[in-house]
Symmetry: none
């Protein structure tokens, strides 16, 4: 069985841990034993454990052994779970931090094609009549600006925010705060951002985006 064995073993180990097979004892069998049991070299078992250790499933200690981590707060999954409880106020604060910066990056780094895509989303949003349709293109407009920023990580953070904002409590809030007047204002403000991007003005884009987000905040949080 000489194919990507380490990954398979990592999966097997994870299963046996979550199924509680060793969880009661806390301590796992030594690497050498597991290597023998799986019929692979110890290095391979170690590589499997490396990945379990990275995501916090397991803790290793020289001379003592390998242990299943107690309910762990530092795993990716736990972090995401906590993010789902993000308050609208916190979210808006971070948007006002990230989006103006993304707009500034975009003004500098975007290709002509990128900007075309942004304009397309803007025009679609302006043309959209109803709330879900507008909502969709509004989000797309913002996301395409992040795509222009040429920072993949920034883009993924925005993706995360977008997913969070699509969950239940947010959706209600957006629906409540929506109105035809506001839609028109958003379109104008988007237009200002787009204009700054097209004229390659980072500072103008930053300011236009910030102004837009302040409007959004006022509408959603009523400040």
């Amino acid at each position: 069985m000489p194919r990507m064995v380490a990954d398979d073993i990592a999966v097997a180990l994870r299963d046996r841990i979550t199924s509680g097979e060793w969880s009661s004892l806390g301590r796992l069998p030594p690497e050498r034993d597991l290597a023998a049991e799986f019929g692979v070299a110890r290095n391979t078992v170690r590589r499997a454990f490396d990945s379990l250790q990275r995501d916090g499933t397991v803790i290793r200690q020289v001379g003592r052994g390998t242990f299943v981590a107690r309910e762990n707060a530092n795993t990716m999954a736990a972090t995401i779970a906590r993010m789902e409880g993000t308050s609208p106020a916190d979210m808006m604060e971070i948007r006002q931090l990230l989006e103006p910066a993304a707009a500034a990056f975009a003004a500098t780094n975007a290709s002509a094609g990128d900007l075309d895509a942004v304009r397309e989303a803007h025009e679609a949003a302006c043309a959209a009549g109803e709330m879900p349709d507008f909502e969709q293109w509004d989000a797309e407009f913002h996301h395409r600006i992040f795509s222009c920023s040429r920072n993949e990580f920034l883009k993924e953070i925005h993706n995360l925010m977008r997913i969070l904002r699509n969950q239940a409590p947010w959706f209600d809030m957006k629906k409540r705060s929506f109105s035809e007047t506001r839609r028109r204002i958003y379109c104008e403000e988007h237009g200002a951002v787009l204009a700054a991007l097209l004229s390659r003005d980072p500072d103008g884009a930053r300011k236009a985006m910030l102004a837009h987000l302040r409007t959004v905040e006022r509408n959603m949080l009523g400040r």
Copy 2:
């Protein structure tokens, strides 16, 4: 026996992928095995895969294998998976965006107890002798500043970055760029940040943190 065997095999492969036969594992059988199974030469299987690769159905990696490309690009899990490929340069750019802001928030919002915790982490880092120990307290120092910011979402974003930076390629890079001199410089710079926090100076904290991150960037990316 119709012509264009490669095309037929491409269709067959695509069917088996979309039917989910291998999609659960992610990894497809090696080309040599598939060639044997279909009773054709490996070159033919390769040409079939070429077309699947062109349209993004499949990803190939020398020495590892052929994998079905991830669908569901918009799920949380997929976003996280993409984040794991974040480049050090992109990550540093975002740190320079978020951490100075977090420091400024912290100077405004932290309680006395919060700042005590930051000082504790700072002193532990300065006292730590070896690389993993210092590394641990260094990360803790930064994280406690985010905790002071009173923005839960910001704190969780930093948590995410911290987890990503603990994964393999990053850890190697940090180990390589570590030196006693640099450790001392980091301690001094942390001290400056802490001083600004203690004197409740948001702008000073922002600037001190930015200066520190520029040093880190220089050391890690060699700029």
